[in-house]
Symmetry: C2
Subunit: 222 residues, 2 copies
DNA sequence: GTCTATATGCGGATAGAC
DNA sequence: GTCTATCCGCATATAGAC
C-alpha cells in the first residue's frame, strides 16, 4: 500500500533525523530501516529536503494549532486583564510536551527532533520553522508584553528567547540529561510542570538593572 | 609558517562549523576559505573528527577554567553559607559570554558553535563536551543544590538543564533572534544581564506542585 | 507503485614529488 | 611543510523494466 510506505518513511526519517541530525542521515539509512526501496523516497517526496519538510510539517501544524486554541482560551477566561503568565507559558509549552503521549511510534522522537531542529543550520529547516512559527510569534509576543508591562520591548523578546531555549534543550533529552547529571523523568508531565514553574518565575523577574560593572576577574584567564 | 596555517584552519573551521554544522561542512570548504591546501588538514590534525576536537578544546578549556575561578571566589566570599544563586549563575554564564569580547576573528563565532554543539548528535563532539564539562558538573551541581535546598535532587538537575538550554539557545544568535521577533543586542553584556536576571528568578522559584490535572483541551487537536 | 541498475558528483583520506 | 594527483566509497537522484 502506498500510504503505508509513505508513513513508514516519515516515521523512520523522523527518528533518524532526531538521533543523528539531517546532514548525517542518508536516504539509504532511512529506506533500510523502513524496509522500503531506496527509490521510494524520491517517488513519494521528490527529494531529501522535501522529505524533511514533510516530516516537520506533519507534527508542527497540530502543535501550533493547539497552542493557539489554548491562547484563545486563556485570553477569553481572563477578559480585559489579559492572560496570566502561567496560562501563557502553559499554552506555549504544554502542546509540544503533550504530543509525545499521542501516538506510539513517532511523536516521542519528534520531541527530540523539534529540539534539534531549532539548532539546525539547514536553510530549508529554518525556513519551514519560520513559516510555521510566524503566527505563533505574532500572537504570543503581544500577549506576553501585555502581561509583562514592566519590561522593555527588547527584554521581553529576549525572555521569550530564553523560554524557547529552555524548552528546546529540555525536549532534546536524553542527550542532555547526561550532561547535567540529572535523572531522566519517567513522566513527561512532571518535567513539564518543572519547566513551567521555572519559566514563569523567570518571566516575572524584575527588569535587569543596567549595571555593566565588569567583574574583578574578567580577562584574568589565559 | 606552520602555526599560521594551523590557526587559520582552526579559525575557519570554527566559523563554518558554527554556520553550517559539522556534518554539512566539508574539509574542502574549510581549506578553500582558509586559503590552504586540502592536504594540510590531514597533515596537521589527522582527520576531520580530530579537527573538530581541536576547535572545541581550544575555546572550552579557558572558559571552563574561568568558571571554576569565579566559583571558587563566590564560595570563598560567602563562607559557610555557600555561594548565592546570583553568584553561581554569573560564574556559569558570564565566562562564555565574555569570551566573545576577547579576540576579533574567532571567539564570536565560537559562541554560536558552542550553542550548536550542545545540540549536535555527533558522537565525538558529545564525548568531548562530556569530558570537558565533567568537572563543571561535579562542582556546580552540589553548589546549586546547597543554594536550593527546597528542591529535590531531580528538580535541581532539571533546572540546571533549563539554565543551560536558555544559555545555549541565546548564544546561537543571530539564528534565534529572527524566530522570536526580538532585536539583536548591540552589547553582549546587556544580554548577559537579562539572562542572569531570568535564570536567577527561575532557579529561586518554589518547587513545582505535583498537580498533573490534564487540561480540558488536551487531545482536542486532530 | 515498486524494484534494479546506474549516472554523476562529492566526501575524506593518502601517496609521493618538491 | 606544502603541493598535485588520485584512490575509493558513499551520497542523491534518475531511468526504465516489471
Amino acid at each position: 500500500m502506498a500510504s503505508d510506505t509513505k508513513d513508514r518513511i516519515l516515521d523512520v526519517a523522523e527518528a533518524l533525523f532526531a538521533d543523528h541530525g539531517f546532514a548525517a542521515t542518508s536516504l539509504r539509512d532511512i529506506t533500510h530501516d523502513a524496509g522500503v526501496n531506496i527509490a521510494a523516497v524520491n517517488y513519494h517526496f521528490g527529494s531529501k529536503d522535501s522529505l524533511l519538510a514533510a516530516v516537520l510539517e506533519r507534527r508542527i501544524g497540530p502543535v501550533n494549532r493547539q497552542r493557539l486554541i489554548m491562547l484563545d482560551e486563556a485570553e477569553a477566561a481572563a477578559g480585559e486583564a489579559g492572560a496570566t503568565i502561567d496560562a501563557l507559558a502553559r499554552a506555549l509549552l504544554s502542546p509540544p510536551f503533550r504530543q509525545c503521549l499521542v501516538g506510539e511510534r513517532g511523536p516521542v522522537k519528534f520531541q527530540q527532533l523539534a529540539g534539534r531542529i531549532h539548532a539546525e543550520p539547514h536553510a530549508h529547516a529554518r525556513a519551514i520553522l519560520l513559516a510555521q512559527f510566524g503566527e505563533i510569534t505574532r500572537r504570543f509576543v503581544p500577549a506576553f508584553r501585555k502581561a509583562l508591562p514592566h519590561l522593555s520591548e527588547d527584554e521581553a523578546g529576549w525572555r521569550l528567547l530564553f523560554v524557547v531555549g529552555a524548552m528546546a534543550h529540555t525536549m532534546m533529552s536524553p542527550h542532555m540529561f547526561e550532561l547535567c547529571g540529572g535523572r531522566q523523568p519517567d513522566d513527561s508531565e512532571e518535567l513539564l510542570e518543572a519547566l513551567v514553574q521555572f519559566v514563569v518565575a523567570g518571566l516575572k523577574a524584575p527588569a535587569a538593572a543596567r549595571t555593566s560593572r565588569t567583574s574583578p576577574t574578567a580577562g584574568a584567564v589565559a
